[in-house]
């Protein structure tokens, strides 16, 4: 019963918000290997209701986005796939919106620099293992600390003693 109460809204949320299935996992008490006391139970119920409200609001926003997307498509400015999942406030401003920006706003607007112009600020450190002595390595997967020698079965014959 508890699971039904909590997984129901969670599934609805999953389809509304279109996010990963972490919410059903968390909100259903049966999927957590710990007993849930009444405090957490009410916490889950409250949170689920709150998230459903958010989902409902986002549905409204999506409807608006779909309408504006149709408009853009009609004007030959088809939007990229995936844009329809955004709330209205998170959508990139259209070209027209930029024209309405004041010069002071434009001056503060951050722009994306093309990859050709972007400076490389960091590199990943990579070490070659070529030529490295096996004795220098650790073997944690065998539960063996670095004792300075290999386990007997992997050691060279002259090391087996």
């Amino acid at each position: 019963m508890f699971a039904a109460i909590h997984t129901g809204p969670a599934v609805v949320l999953y389809f509304n918000i279109r996010m990963i299935a972490v919410v059903p996992v968390v909100t259903s008490g049966t999927m957590i290997n710990q007993p849930i006391n009444s405090t957490f139970r009410w916490l889950f119920v409250g949170a689920a209701v709150g998230l459903m409200a958010i989902a409902a609001l986002q549905d409204g926003a999506l409807t608006q986005n779909a309408a504006s997307g149709d408009k853009d498509a009609a004007s030959g400015n088809a939007m990229l796939a995936g844009d329809d999942t955004l709330a209205a406030d998170d959508k990139p401003a259209s070209d027209d919106d930029f024209l309405d920006m004041d010069i002071e706003q434009l001056r503060k607007t951050t722009v994306t620099v093309s990859s050709f112009d972007a400076e490389v600020t960091s590199v990943n450190k990579q070490e070659s293992t070529v030529g490295r002595n096996l004795l220098d390595n650790h073997y944690p997967e065998w539960g063996i600390e670095d004792y300075g020698y290999l386990p007997t079965k992997f050691a060279a014959p002259f090391m087996r003693g």
């Binding site: 949320l13 918000i17 996010m19 990963i20 972490v22 919410v23 996992v25 968390v26 909100t27 957590i32 710990q34 849930i36 957490f40 916490l43 889950f44 949170a47 998230l51 004007s75 400015n77 999942t85 955004l86 709330a87 406030d89 998170d90 959508k91 990139p92 401003a93 070209d95 027209d96 930029f98 024209l99 920006m101 004041d102 010069i103 002071e104 434009l106 001056r107 503060k108 607007t109 951050t110 722009v111 994306t112 620099v113 093309s114 112009d117």
Partner: protein, 182 residues
């Protein structure tokens, strides 16, 4: 307690706006420049003889390959500047130039062509806007530059504007980096 932690993580993950809005904070450079060009027309005053008559459109010319394609034309065609409809013209080379009020010289135009267009329009009430380093010191009225905070700034050569009988609003000067002739 671990359940509460899991829920907190889920709540954080479930907010699709969080990560995406950060990406959306950075907008395309060309859109900002198009908006700048449109705004320059509002903050700069052209002499009356810059237009043939009252019905003459406000012409924005683009010299070189336009990085923003037809965006400028599409977004401004339904608008007006100082009660004049806006027309966008593209020029492949300086020799193709026709009278306009704002001429955006794109970064694809080489230095020689820049000098050529500056000389060709010498004394004319044309606001030349560039996006090449030092162009404002070599004939352009306004020149875009990348600021260190990832914004687009602009420098103004007031002397160049005066020579072309263009009056610039103090609000524009306040935001600009003022440069002089070389």
């Amino acid at each position: 307690m671990s359940a509460a932690c899991c829920f907190a993580i889920a709540a954080a993950v479930s907010s699709p706006a969080t990560a995406y809005s950060q990406d959306m904070g950075a907008v395309k450079e060309y859109k900002v420049k198009v908006a700048y060009i449109y705004n320059f027309a509002r903050y700069i005053k052209w002499p009356k003889d810059a237009f043939a008559d009252r019905e003459s459109p406000f012409v924005i010319g683009i010299l070189g390959d336009a990085p923003f394609g037809n965006t400028l034309q599409r977004v401004v065609e339904s608008r007006k500047i100082r009660d004049r409809r806006i027309v966008v013209r593209h020029f492949a080379a300086p020799r193709d130039y026709e009278s306009c009020q704002i001429l955006f010289v794109t970064g694809t135009v080489d230095v020689e062509a820049q000098k050529e267009i500056v000389n060709l329009t010498k004394g004319m009430p044309v606001l030349i806007v560039g996006e090449t380093a030092n162009f404002a010191s070599q004939g352009a009225g306004i020149n875009f530059y990348h600021d260190i905070d990832d914004t687009i700034g602009f420098e103004i050569n007031v002397d160049n504007l005066k020579r072309r009988h263009l009056m610039v609003d103090a609000r524009l000067l306040k935001l600009a980096r003022i440069v002089g002739d070389n």
